[in-house]
């Protein structure tokens, strides 16, 4: 655990923001205040946090339908995100994107993506820009276990290897693609090995362990920044909730779900280890928790009351110019 106290605090705060943002968002959704679909990242926080800890605003990530955690880890402002999931006029995407399309180009966040597997080729494109310009940044694609079967993802991996691009394929194996288990949908049962066969280093880590993700990503980033080509990391971390809110989860048992919070909570695991191995205390974490809750409550409140888009906004930003 060679992270200093500030880094540890930041990591925990980031994960806590994800957790509370989604749990609050969930309440708002169930109360009928949010449109569309919403996908909880709870249980997977250590992945985005561990991956993005190595990135700056000049690095890129391309995200998924389950994108809130990625946004937060990449530095998007909670307040702007809240406005967007409420589809408010001043949201990150002016209310036109919503939860499944949050993007923040200034932060290098190239968008959540409602097309499963859509992120991978886009991240390869960002990596191509980096290489063309001669920069030493990286571009990360977040990819679900389900998405790992999509042709676009395989193609993206091969192209990244062929062009030796600084692309990192971050697989989030949360056990399911909607209702379908990974043991069923991934024929080989081994996402990392499949990625490795495309000709790149392929790591596999416990995605509930912040430190494991952080370490694997450190190696990946070093490799990619050095111009040695792409890397993949499979992070295994079960999701706690249904696929989207409203999913009755008939496909798994109540026990399986209950056990997750007990044994696979990335925040608890992080807290316990950090308290054992650093000077941070229970009270430090409690203070972060309180601050996070307050901030998110305020952000959601503000978003709920914020102005809606104007009807004329329907027609803007289709093109820069069109006539």
């Amino acid at each position: 655990m060679n992270l200093d106290e500030a880094a540890l605090r930041h990591a925990y705060e980031t994960m806590r923001l994800m957790r509370i943002f989604d749990e609050t968002g969930r309440r708002e959704f169930l109360a009928g205040n949010l449109p569309g679909f919403i996908h909880m990242y709870c249980g997977e926080e250590a992945i985005a946090a561990g991956i993005c800890a190595h990135l700056t605003d000049a690095d890129y990530i391309a995200s998924t339908h389950r994108g809130h955690g990625h946004c937060i880890a990449k530095g998007c402002t909670i307040e702007d995100m809240a406005l967007e999931i409420f589809c408010r006029r001043d949201g990150l995407c002016r209310g036109k994107g919503g939860s499944m399309h949050i993007a923040d180009l200034e932060k290098g966040m190239l968008g959540a993506n409602a097309i499963v597997g859509g992120s991978a080729p886009l991240a390869v494109g960002a990596a191509l820009k980096i290489k063309t310009r001669g920069d030493s940044n990286v571009a990360v694609a977040f990819i679900g276990d389900g998405a790992s079967n999509q042709g676009t993802v395989f193609e993206a991996m091969n192209l990244a290897v062929v062009l030796k691009l600084p692309a990192i394929f971050a697989y989030e194996n949360n056990g399911y693609a909607e209702m379908t288990g990974v043991d069923y949908h991934c024929g080989s049962g081994d996402i990392a090995a499949r990625a490795g066969a495309f000709g790149m280093p392929a790591h596999k880590v416990d995605g509930t362990d912040y430190f494991a993700v952080h370490e694997a990503m450190a190696a990946a980033v070093e490799h990619a920044r050095a111009g040695k080509g792409p890397v993949s990391i499979e992070c295994v971390a079960p999701r706690w909730y249904g696929h989207f809110e409203g999913d009755p989860q008939a496909y798994r048992t109540k026990e399986e779900i209950a056990e997750l919070e007990q044994t696979r909570d990335p925040l608890t695991l992080f807290r316990e280890r950090v308290m054992a191995e650093s000077t941070l205390t229970e009270a430090d974490f409690a203070a972060i928790d309180a601050a996070v809750s307050e901030r998110i409550e305020a952000a959601m409140d503000a978003a709920r009351k914020a102005p809606l888009p104007e009807p004329a906004d329907l027609y803007t930003d289709v093109y820069e110019v069109y006539d």
């Binding site: 449109p35 569309g36 409602a114 999509q150 042709g151 288990g181 888009p309 009807p311 329907l314 027609y315």
Partner: protein, 337 residues
């Protein structure tokens, strides 16, 4: 006759056909509801919208086939199976996803019969969800069927309710050509009286939903209901509006439309798809070509704008046509001199 939802009507159609013909299979993502998981057959979800609920329990894993997220392989598997003797129903969860898999539909399945010189076609149905209204945003709300209609070799069906959905789906499954069966997500919960037994509605026959002598409104899918609503209101103003639901957009029942235009001379076409190269354009162009002598006013297209579908519910509400925008268009062509 019992009132059932369009969801149930589609489910019935599949169940009846699967029971009748062992070559009918259903393949797609979560159409069973989570294979490989400790799922109870009876509780298997039957698709994200529950449309295929119960089929897995009834017909088993060999005929109700969950797949990975792999639309090209799903469409290709259906096409290959259809070419060799099955009658697959392949689910493309949202029509918006056609961009990752359309080759297997449009270059393969749709062209087999022609490019193989008539040896065999691809008797398959692609069931897919279309339309706005759920706040699901730009990639889950499109009414992309004009693209399907453009393709020679495909047939395209767009039912406006439970009764038509059942009869048209049974017909589509029995059809020997590939059919894109487009289900509007906002209609799944809508109820209509539907006979329990099997029945077929031929492809290419429009339904005259409402007779009328002043203006012809041709409306597609969910728009049919708004057109009927508008027509009712207009009747009170003394404007008699015919409403025609083509039901299948390829083949299109040109005669039924032209017959009505001959009487009214005035036309409004209503569609939720974006306007350029759309079915609204197609229908208008067909009329100005083949029904010109009857035309007494410009044809008004009432459609979504040429924009993506916004996520914001307030913006989305202004996206698709409404009864009010239809009424306004009808008044405009009615008053044209």
């Amino acid at each position: 006759m019992a009132k059932i939802t369009m969801r149930e009507a589609i489910n019935q159609a599949m169940r009846l056909e699967m029971a009748r013909d062992p070559d009918v299979i259903l393949i797609g993502e979560d159409v069973a509801g989570g294979r490989g998981c400790p799922v109870d057959d009876k509780e298997a979800a039957g698709g994200v919208m529950g449309v295929s609920a119960g089929l897995y329990g009834e017909f088993g894993a060999a005929r109700v086939i969950d797949t990975p997220i792999t639309e090209s392989a799903i469409m290709g598997a259906a096409a290959g199976a259809a070419l060799t003797g099955l009658r697959p129903i392949a689910e493309l969860m949202f029509a918006d996803f056609f961009g990752v898999c359309f080759d297997q539909v449009y270059n393969q399945a749709a062209k087999f019969r022609y490019m193989f010189g008539g040896q065999h076609g691809a008797p398959m149905v692609v069931r897919t969800m279309v339309g706005a209204g759920m706040g699901a945003g730009p990639q889950h709300s499109q009414a992309i069927y004009p693209i399907f209609a453009h393709i020679p070799g495909l047939k395209v069906v767009l039912p406006s309710g439970a009764y038509d959905a059942k009869g048209l789906l049974i017909q589509s499954i029995r059809d020997n050509d590939p059919v894109m069966f487009c289900e509007h997500k906002m209609l799944y919960g809508e109820e209509e009286e539907v006979p329990e037994e099997s029945y077929q509605i031929p492809l290419g026959e429009a339904r005259v939903v409402r007779e009328g002598s002043d203006v012809t409104v041709v409306a597609l899918g969910r728009m049919v209901h708004l057109a009927v609503e508008a027509a009712g209101e207009l009747e009170e103003q003394g404007i008699s509006v015919a409403v025609i639901d083509p039901r299948t957009i390829s083949p299109l029942d040109v005669d039924t439309i032209l017959d009505s235009v001959e009487e009214t001379g005035r036309v409004v076409v209503v569609d939720e798809a974006t306007p350029i190269c759309s079915m609204a354009s197609e229908i208008a162009s067909m009329i100005v070509s083949d029904g010109f002598s009857s035309l007494r006013a410009p044809i008004r297209k009432v459609t979504a704008p040429h924009t993506p579908v916004p996520a914001s519910p307030v913006l989305e509400a202004g996206y698709a046509p409404t009864a009010a925008s239809i009424r306004e268009a009808v008044e405009a062509v009615y008053n044209y001199r």
